[in-house]
Symmetry: C2
Subunit: 345 residues, 2 copies
């Protein structure tokens, strides 16, 4: 059983709580946000977390202005792994959180779903500090970077030289405010914006920006860490990796199927392209949180073998953990409980 | 630098010699077959191996009726990793070779590209013997099982439960006798055949069988080890995995694109399918030998961390090794040298 803490209680963190409840070998024991933290060795209830607007609303929560530190200092010995599900605005935010975690003395596995190249570089530069402090930090372990990066590194094996890796994602969400932080990060990739600018924008300003674009964000040549992760893993130089996508913030149907195309030259001199396409019914929550848990499982195995420091999803694969035998019941109960909330609101 | 020995000098082994020559961090130092073995600490020339009808023809070779044992007893300390590229007919052949390798006292990584479920089960059952004898044995590390199995295990991460994994391969080769052993293994999957029957057939009988089918082998519900490898890796039960394909033995164009489809149910209750498709220009030689080298690299890393015993490609990913800077020259030289041979024949 892997005892997990989630730092952050936005769209990703809340859905992770629901997912973990359906999985066999993970137990969610802690969640925190700016308002406070909640810890329970017996495990936390997914629906309560999904329902909460702030962590302090959850039964048993402790209000705190320094919730990450307070949680870890007090309960670090009961935690095997941490998922950092915090919005990363500005770039140095999660790297700074990582430094704070080191100071608490936490030993174990940390997984993030960071996206920007600069942020992953900062995490990578903490390699020796993680090593010296008993931490294995896995970065870029969501969908892209993450699932698609590992797929690209794997697909590369048919080639002697990789010539091009093109990642194209499609995201459809019915209202932008379920994934505020993610949408803000996407806007930061648009021409004329950056993480600093976006971090200072109000929700109304974000909404006005979305209105100008009919709710559609078209992203090209994004600063996405797949590039350096694949470079670190020796797959190809960063210039050969491009990431772009279309995000529809008003429609849960994906505007385009998420895919990665890997083009290379074979040892026989032929140029060819492998393609990995994700099913449209899999949402961002499925394609980020599932891989995060899988990489965490690989991380726990490697941690047991003595591996410390920073690795990325391009160096690893994710290990699958089966569902609980009664997961369909749990899923149904979650859905009914959440439907009730929606109707009540 | 990884010093590699290839056991077997058929289609796969010979192409592996050409591939290794283009790669940066591998050196091919030994090859053997029924006729003898050749060892050179400075590395062997790919073209000489590709040209040889038997290993004894290669300059510096030692004739031997017990070539695997003789090679390993004499040179095991100079070998980091072994690729078993022998035809596996009957099923117990490679498992028996593995037992012989253990007896020689070789310590290091062994990789195979085994295909049949029964054979992989036999290798798996040697787990504790490999552990006790300082060996990390990676089984099923070719294309399928191998590349496609890892892709399936990775793709599974978007789901809570995996409902179906369907592997379909297309192979096109211009003449069957370049891949005699592989074609024999494929025929062993046809109704009315098995490994024992096929191992007793003459080349003329194989050819007659191919003529009956206009050179096309249509394979359905094959006994392919992807099933137990994915079961061992907790992805799904073996009954949910099916493998089939079409092999054209008279046409180098693939009759169908090789692909794997992974269908599962998400934590949100949706059923969806991810697809991984290989480019048609990538041949069996690319899709088997490339992954074998990649899994070998992962194996070397894990070996250094103290991992011993048996793992499969469903537990791991393959790590990419870059090409030599002058690999295009090497490729050209290989192609010209081999063209000359063809013209001369």
């Amino acid at each position: 059983m892997i005892n997990v803490a989630i730092l952050g209680c936005g769209g990703l963190g809340q859905n992770m709580a629901l997912l973990i409840e359906q999985k066999k070998n993970y137990k969610l024991v802690a969640v925190c946000d700016r308002s406070g933290y909640v810890f329970s060795e017996n495990g936390l209830d997914g629906v309560s977390i999904k329902r909460a607007k702030e962590v302090v609303e959850i039964k048993g929560a402790t209000p705190s202005e320094n919730s990450i530190i307070d949680l870890l200092v007090k309960h670090k010995d009961k935690l095997d792994a941490i998922f950092i599900a915090l919005p990363n605005l500005p770039n140095e935010f999660i790297p700074n959180v990582a430094k704070e975690i080191i100071k608490t003395g936490f030993k174990g596995v940390i997984v993030d779903a960071l996206k920007r190249t600069r942020a992953v570089e900062m995490i990578k530069s903490l390699d020796s500090e993680f090593q010296a402090n008993g931490i294995l930090y896995l970065t870029g372990c969501g969908a892209t970077p993450g699932l698609l990066t590992t797929a690209a590194a794997l697909a590369a094996q048919s080639f002697v030289e990789v010539l091009d890796i093109t990642i194209t994602f499609g995201v459809g969400i019915s209202t932008w405010d379920t994934y505020k932080a993610t949408i803000r990060e996407d806007i930061a990739h648009l021409p004329g914006f950056n993480p600093e600018i976006v971090s200072k924008m109000t929700d109304e300003e974000i909404e006005a920006e979305l209105n100008k674009r009919n709710g559609i964000l078209e992203l090209e040549h994004m600063e996405h860490a797949d590039d350096i992760m694949l470079e670190f893993a020796n797959v190809c130089s960063r210039e050969r990796v491009t990431t772009g996508g279309i995000v529809d913030t008003r429609n849960s149907k994906k505007p385009i199927s998420t895919n990665v195309k890997i083009t290379g030259r074979t040892f026989e001199g032929k140029v060819s392209t492998h393609t990995f396409v994700l099913g449209d019914e899999t949402t961002m929550a499925c394609n980020v949180n599932g891989p995060v848990l899988g990489f965490m499982k690989t991380g726990m195995w490697l941690y047991g073998l003595g591996v410390r420091g920073t690795l990325t999803s391009a160096d690893l694969t994710a290990r699958f953990d089966p569902a609980k035998e009664n997961y369909l019941e749990i899923q149904k109960r979650q859905q009914e409980a959440l439907k009730k909330v929606t109707v009540m609101q």
